[in-house]
Every structure is written in structure tokens, then in C-alpha cells.
């Protein structure tokens, strides 16, 4: 799937997008960063097919698109399960209400969606976007309002996804999706972006340096700073053994283990 030369301008304003080119491929999730009002949501809406760009084209958008907007509103009067069934029918796929359980949905199942808390509404939004085997997944700030358990489930789901994925994220959790390409919207254009630095070392953390093919290092599933064939990690002391065992099993070799 390709996005070519996409421009978007609103009346009386400067262009929000000024020539965005982007390729989306299965297994290569794109994490999009950018300041407030930099046009991330606009680009996502165009990629998802909600809006047409002023100029440029989107090629090869699959039939079934899973889209989660920034702040999923859930002001409807139907219950969450009914909503998921209707959305699946509109996509002509089978509904997957069990996704709600997977995300730890704790809201009332038979009451209007308008009564849901922010976190539970977000889980309904995720369930509709990821259910029914979409051919493209576009998520705008999917971690907003999620509890820790649901955030981990979401990361695992996105890691296992075998279709193109475009996601924006302010929480830094998208950095843990292995193999992700990090891009940034600056002045209406997409530029390469360094992944967010791994979070500050926790108390009792251990600095680990591993050597191996870059692909394997990206696939470790823990935040790491990868340089050429080296990965620099900071892991809690309690998890060092498990991490080293896993890394050795994947064919990496250990360069150093030092107190952080």
C-alpha cells in the first residue's frame, strides 16, 4: 500500500500536509510522531479512507480497514456488543466481541455505550478496529486511557499483526513494537525519526549489550537502542537471566553485562 504526494490544506490556512509519501507493508509497522497539530490525525484519516486529500493519492487500500480515531467518542445509546456486531456487518466480517474480554473490558455490557468510562470506551474502539481481520490497521493514540494490562495486550496484538499498521503514539509504548519504522511529521512532510530512547534505568537495573543481526535485536521485545549489530538494553536485575537466556536462544551473543 502506497501513499503518494498527499497534500491537505483547509480554507484560509497553511497546508497541513505538504507532499507525504509513505509505503505501508505487512510486518513493518509505521510509528508516526509529531507535535500537536502537525497533521498526524489528518494523515491517518486520509490513509484510513475517511477523507480525501486535496492532492495526491492513496494506492492499494484494502477493503477492510480498522480505524481508531483519536479519542473514540462512544456517545451512542446502543451497548458495546451491539455496536461491534453492527460495525462488523458494515465491514462484512464476523464480529469478535471476545476482543473486549482480551482487553479487560470491565464496563456494563447491556447499557448504552455513552455510560462507559474513557478507558472502556477506548477498548470498544480497539475491538472494532482490530476485530474481523482488517487488511489495514490505522490507530490514532491507541494507548490513551488504557490500563497497564490492556496496554501490554495491545502491544502483543500489534506485534502479532500480519497486515500494514500505521500508529501514532505519545506514550512511548509503540517503541516496543519490534521492527517498527519511526517517522515524524515536520512541516507537513514525513521524515525519519529516532525511536524514543529507552526509559531511564530503574533502581537495580543492569546494562546489557548484545551482538547479533539487527533484525533479531529488534525482535527481542524489550526497549533497546540498536546500533549496527549491537543492542544496548537496560533491564531490571530480576529479569536479566530470563532476557539473556532468551537472547542466546535467538542466536545473539552477550557482549557485556554491567550494573547500570
Amino acid at each position: 500500500m502506497r501513499i503518494e504526494g498527499v497534500h491537505q490544506a483547509y480554507r484560509g490556512g497553511p497546508p497541513v500536509l505538504a507532499g507525504v509519501d509513505l509505503a505501508l507493508e505487512p510486518g513493518a509497522p509505521v510509528v508516526l510522531a509529531g507535535g500537536n497539530g502537525s497533521g498526524k490525525s489528518t494523515l491517518l484519516r486520509i490513509v484510513a479512507g475517511c477523507a480525501a486529500p486535496s492532492a495526491g493519492r492513496v494506492h492499494g487500500r484494502p477493503r477492510v480497514v480498522g480505524f481508531l480515531p483519536d479519542r473514540f467518542p462512544a456517545q451512542l445509546r446502543m451497548p458495546a456488543d451491539v455496536y461491534l456486531r453492527h460495525l462488523a456487518a458494515i465491514r462484512r466480517v464476523t464480529a469478535e466481541p471476545e476482543l473486549l474480554e482480551a482487553f479487560g473490558f470491565s464496563g456494563p455490557r447491556a447499557e448504552p455505550m455513552a455510560r462507559l468510562s474513557k478507558g472502556n470506551a477506548q477498548k470498544v474502539g480497539l475491538a472494532q478496529a482490530l476485530g474481523g481481520g482488517p487488511g489495514l490497521v490505522v490507530l490514532d493514540e491507541p494507548w490513551a486511557g488504557l490500563d497497564v494490562a490492556a496496554a501490554a495486550v495491545l502491544r502483543d496484538r500489534l506485534t502479532a499483526l500480519e497486515v500494514p499498521l500505521l500508529v501514532t503514539d505519545h506514550t512511548g509504548r509503540a517503541a516496543r513494537i519490534p521492527g517498527a519504522r519511526h517517522l515524524r511529521l515536520v512541516d507537513g512532510r514525513v521524515v525519519a525519526d529516532a525511536p524514543p530512547a529507552p526509559s531511564a534505568p530503574a533502581v537495580g537495573a543492569v546494562a546489557v549489550v548484545l551482538r547479533g543481526p539487527a533484525r533479531t535485536l529488534h525482535g527481542l521485545g524489550v526497549p533497546a537502542r540498536v546500533e549496527a549489530d549491537r543492542a544496548h538494553l537496560s533491564v531490571p536485575a530480576a529479569e536479566v537471566d530470563a532476557l539473556l537466556r532468551g537472547a542466546l536462544d535467538l542466536g545473539c551473543s552477550v557482549v557485556s553485562v554491567t550494573p547500570a
Binding site: R45, A48, G49, C50, A51, A52, R63, V65, G66, F67, L68, P69, D70, R71, F72, P73, A74, Q75, L76, R77, M78, V82, H86, L87, A89, I90, R91, R92, P112, G125, Q128, A129, V138
Partner: protein, 219 residues
């Protein structure tokens, strides 16, 4: 064909939320109240009284279409548009729900005096009555879609614009669809003279749907 399947799924979704909300009930109750007043005493021989009920149905259908089109929050609407693969099926689904309301209210309005008053009408006159109401209701649907989101985003402006359009177009007896349809039923002309108003009404509703999809796409 797939567009229509998707549009029907969208219509079922919107209908499901509409029946749960009290907002669509208000225009329906309004029409029922108008019918009760119009046909409660002695309205006189048919079809002339149908002119008044058809004229009342015009703003009611406009309000109904406005309500159905504004069911979803704009962000919620963007999710539905992405799911439907574009704004086209969503606009058509909205139209289908509004048309369902048009048909039900038209049938109710025509049947009421036949059941509740001693006057009767031959089949040809009944058909003319149905076509008059459909012309008014479907025009109202078109006007409602043109005044609702995403074309007019603020509900205050939506209601004001719709009100002005309805008042201006309803009272011109030469102007199809509503003015000429009401004039035809008042004069007791046959169903044939209502063909043009009904077709014009469908054109207005089609234009409303098309403009709605187009504006939604501009997003």
C-alpha cells in the same frame, strides 16, 4: 451491489441507535398530534384534507432526516466511514432510514382519515393521497440531509436553514415538489398529476445524499 449491502448494514446500525434514542420520537409524535387535530373533528370529504397533513409532513420529515443524519458524533462517523469503505454507503444508509420513516408516516397520514372519519375514497384518490405525502416527505428528507452534518455542522444553523427552506418552498403552489403536489391534491386531480412532484422529490433527496457524501469526503 456491495455498496447497497453495506448501505443496508449502515441503515440497520443507524436505525438501531435511532430507536434507542428519544430524539426521533419527537417528530413522529408531532405528526401524530397534527393528524389527531386535523382529522379529529369533521375534516370534510377527501382528498382535500390530505393537503394539510401532507403539508405538515414536510417539516416533520425534514426534522426526522436531520435527526438521523446527526445521530453520530463526527468522530464516530469517521469510524463508520472507514468501516464502510467511504462516505457513499454511509450517506445512502442515512437516506434509507429517513425513507423508511417517510413511508411509515405517509401511510399513517393517509390511513388515519379513512379509518377515523366517515369519509371514504376510491383507490385512485387514495393513491393520489399517498403520492402527495411521499412527495412532501421525500423532499423533506432531501432538505434535511442538505441542512444536517456534514454539510451544516452546527445544529442551530441546521434548524434555522431547514426552517427557512421549508417555509419558502411549501407555500408556492406552482413549485414542485411540495407546492405543486399539495395544489394537485387540493384540486382533487388524479395520481398522474403527482408523478412529476414525486420524481422531483426523489431528485432532491438524491441531491441531498450526494452532497452529503461529497462534503464528508472533503473532510
Amino acid at each position: 451491489m456491495t455498496t447497497l449491502t453495506t448501505a443496508v448494514a449502515v441503515a440497520r446500525y443507524l436505525l438501531s441507535d435511532a430507536v434507542r434514542s428519544q430524539r426521533v420520537i419527537i417528530p413522529v409524535v408531532l405528526q401524530v398530534a397534527v393528524l389527531a387535530v386535523l382529522f379529529g373533528g369533521d375534516p370534510g370529504p377527501l382528498p382535500a384534507p390530505w393537503a394539510a397533513s401532507a403539508l405538515a409532513l414536510y417539516p416533520v420529515a425534514t426534522w426526522l432526516a436531520l435527526t438521523v443524519a446527526n445521530t453520530e458524533d463526527p468522530v464516530q462517523r469517521s469510524v463508520t466511514v472507514a468501516a464502510a469503505g467511504g462516505p457513499g454507503p454511509v450517506a445512502i444508509g442515512t437516506l434509507l432510514v429517513a425513507l423508511l420513516g417517510d413511508v411509515l408516516l405517509s401511510v399513517l397520514s393517509v390511513a388515519w382519515p379513512l379509518v377515523a372519519t366517515p369519509y371514504s375514497a376510491p383507490p385512485g384518490t387514495v393513491l393520489a393521497g399517498v403520492l402527495t405525502h411521499l412527495a412532501a416527505a421525500i423532499t423533506g428528507t432531501g432538505v434535511g440531509l442538505l441542512c444536517a452534518r456534514p454539510v451544516i455542522r452546527r445544529i442551530g444553523w441546521s434548524l434555522l436553514t431547514a426552517l427557512i427552506v421549508v417555509i419558502v418552498t411549501a407555500v408556492q403552489p406552482w413549485l414542485p415538489p411540495v407546492g405543486s403536489a399539495v395544489a394537485a391534491i387540493t384540486d382533487g386531480r388524479g395520481p398522474g398529476s403527482l408523478l412529476v412532484p414525486v420524481l422531483a422529490a426523489c431528485a432532491v433527496a438524491g441531491a441531498g445524499t450526494w452532497v452529503s457524501a461529497l462534503v464528508s469526503r472533503r473532510g
